[in-house]
């Protein structure tokens, strides 16, 4: 069989060399006498040497040569007495180069034998195996949660802590009727997500004339930022609600909606009164939901909530604990967020590695669920691989280092600002008076204050 001349000269060794040079893995070959017979480009680059400088060089681990290339050759020397067909992995660290895990394999026996060395993520494999097992365990927990509890509040209520279970119970209760309710929790705790979830479960479909599908629209939820409202803005915000409630339908059931007020305990009282008036105008048609940072009773005592509004909300309260109190739920919540975003094709990452999970567990989460959500969103954007690593997380989270109990990292801070300012003022005045040889007028001029103020401060000082 005739072979074309060109093909005979260029393939298959060149094809193989091209293939190995294009690989990102490091590969080199030793002959029977442990000389480098061939080395691919990435391996030569890693070693910081030209392939021609290494090829033919004998690699003996015990070499004492001072030649830098001999030292490199000694570093990459194969393990002694490597049996045929045995794969052994070593951590190879040539001088001045980042260590790599290299697998060595002897092929054949005698003078025709040779050894292949190639980079391998071998030590990482053990870790990734355990990480895979951990992610599988989390996946199973997510699966269980989806099956049993996901309907009750979504990811905010995920977890096996007592607080998470209690919250799910409260959500379940809120979905059994159309009572008004309040959601109490710190900023960013996901209260609105829970309220929207409850609304989505309990909202009734709108039967519009001419619509054949009954599930196309449901009763709307109108959300209002209470603290930002004044009379005019509130009227504008309530007008779509009034339009919806006042419209005519063929259905015997009157139109309904959910009115959600964010920051109810920070909403001006006159605005609250107008809201209450609006609620009275449409009895039975509006489900009122208030989001608060403090319990209704407390807010009522402090006169932050109008009595009528408080009475409406006293029936059912959902308490969302700070995320810091539900740390054991964080891994599941984070994994569920990654899962949801991955399913929504918002990133290639499909799991968190153990180190990243550890960072999430240790962080105190001052921003609560919203901060966790934002952290996962950022990690999904940055991460281009299957696993989210700590470096993909926001700086605040990945760099958080808890201090040992009783050992504060920072010096104790003056807790009273007024006292601290007074103390500083007196210190400066005394320094200025001393610098002016006791001349108070000169000291006052230097400080840019009136002489009377300077004298008053000195008179008020404890020493005087």
């Amino acid at each position: 069989m005739s072979v074309p001349r060109q093909a005979e000269s260029s393939s298959p060794s060149r094809t193989l060399a091209r293939l190995l040079d294009a690989s990102i893995e490091l590969v080199w070959v030793f002959d029977a006498s442990q000389r480098v017979a061939w080395i691919n480009r990435p391996a030569a680059q890693w070693l910081g040497a030209e392939p021609s400088g290494l090829i033919g060089r004998q690699c003996i681990a015990s070499s004492t040569s001072s030649d830098p290339l001999d030292q490199v050759a000694a570093a990459i020397a194969p393990p002694a007495a490597l049996g045929v067909g045995v794969l052994r992995t070593l951590d190879v660290s040539p001088p001045g180069v980042a260590p790599m895990s290299i697998a060595y394999l002897r092929i054949g026996e005698g003078e025709t034998s040779f050894m292949v060395a190639f980079s391998t993520p071998a030590p990482a494999t053990a870790a990734s195996d355990s990480e895979f097992a951990e992610s599988q365990r989390l996946r199973e927990r997510i699966h269980q949660w989806r099956k049993r509890d996901a309907a009750w509040g979504g990811i905010v209520t995920a977890g096996s802590s007592k607080l998470a279970k209690r919250l799910r119970g409260q959500v379940q209760l809120a979905t059994t009727n159309r009572h008004d309710f309040s959601v109490v929790g710190p900023v960013g705790c996901g209260a609105e997500l829970i309220a929207r979830r409850i609304h989505a479960i309990t909202a009734t479909p709108i039967q519009s004339p001419g619509r054949t599908s009954e599930r196309l629209d449901v009763d709307p939820l109108i959300a209002i930022d209470g603290p930002l409202m004044d009379a005019e803005l509130l009227e504008a915000s309530l007008s779509p609600a009034a339009a919806h409630l006042g419209r005519e339908t063929d259905s015997p059931i009157e139109p309904q909606l959910t009115l959600l007020i964010r920051g109810l305990d920070e909403t001006p009282l006159d605005v609250q009164q107008r809201i209450e008036q609006f609620l009275t105008e449409y009895p039975e048609q509006i489900r009122f939901v208030g989001l608060l940072a403090q319990a209704v009773d407390e807010a009522t005592k402090k006169q932050l909530i109008a009595d009528a509004i408080a009475a409406r909300l006293s029936v059912l309260t959902l308490n969302v604990a700070p995320l810091a109190d539900r740390i054991d739920d964080v891994p599941l919540m984070a994994a569920a967020l990654v899962d949801a975003r991955h399913a929504g094709t918002s990133g290639s990452a499909e799991r968190l590695n153990r180190a990243a999970l550890d960072r999430l567990t240790l962080y105190p989460w001052p921003g609560n669920f919203d901060e966790l959500d934002a952290a996962i969103r950022q990690a999904m954007t940055v991460c281009k691989s299957a696993a989210i690593l700590p470096e993909h997380l926001p700086l605040a989270i990945r760099s958080y280092q808890p201090a040992e109990p009783g050992k504060s990292k920072t010096a104790p801070v003056e807790t009273n600002l007024d006292q601290a300012l007074e103390s500083l003022e007196l210190k400066m005045i005394r320094a200025a008076v001393a610098a002016s040889d006791g001349n108070r007028s000169e000291a006052a001029r230097r400080l840019g204050i009136s002489r009377a103020r300077l004298i008053r401060r000195l008179d008020e000082s404890p020493e005087s």
């Binding site: 195996d129 365990r137 550890d358 567990t361 040992e404």
Partner: protein, 139 residues
Amino acid sequence: MTELSAGSHWVISESGERWYQAVCRFAKHGRIERVGIYSTAAIIAKSNFFSSATIVIWELPSDARHCIDFLDVVASVRQASPATIQVASLPVGASTTWKIAAQQAGAQILLDDLACLPRLVDSLSFDQARTTATATIQL
């Protein structure tokens, strides 16, 4: 029984510092000490080790040979200081055999991940004389 307080003493033996950081984060009080596996025995010898309420956290390695060494030390701590609470963190995916071995050696609590630690901290309590500690949790 009294709650865990400033008298408690955490001893952590691990390869990295994940459990150390977790104890710093979740244990509100107490003394924290990081030790190598072989110096743990020396710490046991100290008399104050017995008198204070001590919780030892062992991060058991995945390598079987080293794991046996660890279990050996766990057993000696159990023998020398029965009041000490020993917590073992097994590698993910550890077989049931290892879990049983850790418990038989003297580890009263097996922790899966850092997130379980707050529950452990909340549930620890010691008797008045601080000679016996109990953990009332099912992790």
